[in-house]
């Protein structure tokens, strides 16, 4: 697979213009939660905050903001995530999350549905690079974790905001196929 198939233009663009980057307080009247995730392969990390607003039609992702460091895949993936989920009903965001995960873990066997995935289809090449799966999933794992906690109501004490300097928490929310998950490098 060529380099350009992995690094599609959408990825290179989002890597330079990182949407949603910079943690900000949750808007008034929302429930929010934060998640801190670390990729043990390289030490990359992200802290992502989700704000959920309850509406008569159900919960909606009101805002996402994040701060982190990482490779172009992980940063672009966070940026695209921001574009795709803000303003969406929570169940739709969850559906998107599931579709993204299925694509990324498919080892190139899944033809992604652009209707569902939007710009996130640009990450399809990642599925052929087992070592990069965690890069693409880092932000989405943080989103999933924070969303569940925000949507579950008032933030419990144990889910207090974690500063970037905090003891790293491994990416547990995203087990990937055995061969793709070799833990720390050496």
């Amino acid at each position: 697979m060529s380099l350009d198939q992995l690094y599609q233009q959408v990825i290179l663009d989002h890597d330079r213009e990182r949407h949603g980057c910079g943690l900000r307080p949750a808007p008034e009247g929302t429930a929010d939660a934060e998640s801190h995730q670390v990729n043990p392969l390289c030490g990359d990390q992200v802290t992502l905050r989700v704000a959920v607003r309850q509406t008569p039609d159900g919960p909606v992702v009101q805002d996402v903001s994040w701060a982190g460091e990482g490779c172009s895949i992980s940063q672009a993936s966070l940026s695209v995530l921001y574009d795709l989920v803000v303003g969406r009903p929570v169940p739709e965001a969850e559906e998107l999350l599931g579709a993204f995960r299925t694509m990324i873990r498919s080892r190139g066997t899944v033809e992604p549905d652009e209707e569902v995935l939007g710009d996130a289809v640009a990450f399809v090449g990642v599925s052929r690079h087992a070592n990069r799966v965690k890069c693409a999933m880092l932000g989405w794992a943080a989103f999933e974790d924070a969303l569940h906690r925000a949507d579950a109501g008032p933030v419990p004490a144990t889910a207090a905001p974690v500063p970037l300097t905090a003891v790293p928490v491994p990416v547990t929310a995203d087990p990937v196929p055995a061969t793709a998950d070799r833990g720390e490098d050496r």
Partner: protein, 456 residues
Amino acid sequence: MADTALKADTALKQDPGTLAVGLLAADPAPGSTPGPTAQEIAAIREDFPVLHRTVGGHRLVYLDSAATSQRPRSVLDAETAYSTGCNAAVHRGAHTLAEEATDAYEAARSAAAAFVGLGPDQIVWTRNATEALNLVAGVLSDPLTAQDPHAAPLALRPGDEVVVTEMEHHANLVPWQRACARSGARLRWLPLTDDGRLDLTRLEEIVTPATRVLSFAHVSNVLGTINPVDVLVARARQVGALVVLDACQSVPHLPVDLSALDVDLAVFSAHKMLGPTGLGVLAGKAEILQALPPFLTGGSMVSTVTMETATFQDPPQRFEAGTPPVSQTVALHAAVDYLTALGMDRVAAHDRTLTARALAGLRDLPGIRVLGPVQAVDRVGAVSVVVDGVHPHDVGQVLDASGIAVRVGHHCAQPVHRRYGATASTRASLYVYSTPDEVDAFLDALSGVRAYFKKA
């Protein structure tokens, strides 16, 4: 070079005694020996089957030998010859195969010992260097060690200190963190200078009479720095500390005589010196090994066992519980023979030449920072760089697209990266089969990386 490759069954025929002494006794001063010629390198490359494969249609440029080195045919053949012609449990059984296996296993021990200037009883086989370090840290912090009359003086206790350096691989850091937590000892470390060397200005303040253990990398796997073992050993002797040397990155690349270095214990891994995975070495002074209680226990390491208790064998068997990796030791024997035939002084000379070429080339590349010494002096060819604005994963991916295999990440050494303001880096590491062309290919590919991500 191909003619120096071992015949497949040499390892089995080796007399355990013949290799035991001073193969490296005649090492000339560093820098005085020329490295192999281009023709010799070409011949060396013929010995390594994997170097002939392609990656994505490109010739493989393997620059990740500090992580794991490639194996010459003689190593692969020795292991196959053992597996197809012998294969039996060692140190038990009276049948011919068991005897041959034991001979091969012990011959390998003698060869490994001679390679680092020691006697065979000073070599303990482990699973890898990490296990060897865990053995040492584990035993020193075991409460039973403090109760053992022979070992008590070595045991870690509250108030004691263990000193490492800020450039350690996690394998020589985390086991000591655990040992300190277990024993109540305190972990301290020697800091680093901005140019990638140990900062020894506070050596006397950090290594003190409270220091029981001084454990450090001979060569850093990230910075490539060769540390001054003599200075550190001299200070350790002044204060009565045990010296543990992580020789993982020195034994493959430099002539190393552990007796001359006068360290108490040392570790290295077979897979970084043309040998197999699954085999490491704990080397030590006979009296230190003799004093230490066992780490892993079970079969093969005991003398008498009753339902209540057991007595243990002398080293090295005391530290080799369970069925060992026999075919791997046979393979390491062939690797050691291969390196010896090349001459470690010439291996080191080749490394220096290529390292100088890499560092000179990197100096001309904008937006690239080298972690570690920027001159090829007292350093080996593990060259880690940070590319401004581009993450190492992305750098590695771009290089891979040209068939160039480098390491990306923190290389199991997060603190040293943090020290130099990086989370991770891209590391090219060289070995006997590396060529100037490969260094140039690396530099060339690296020079295009920032443009690809529009960071230049």
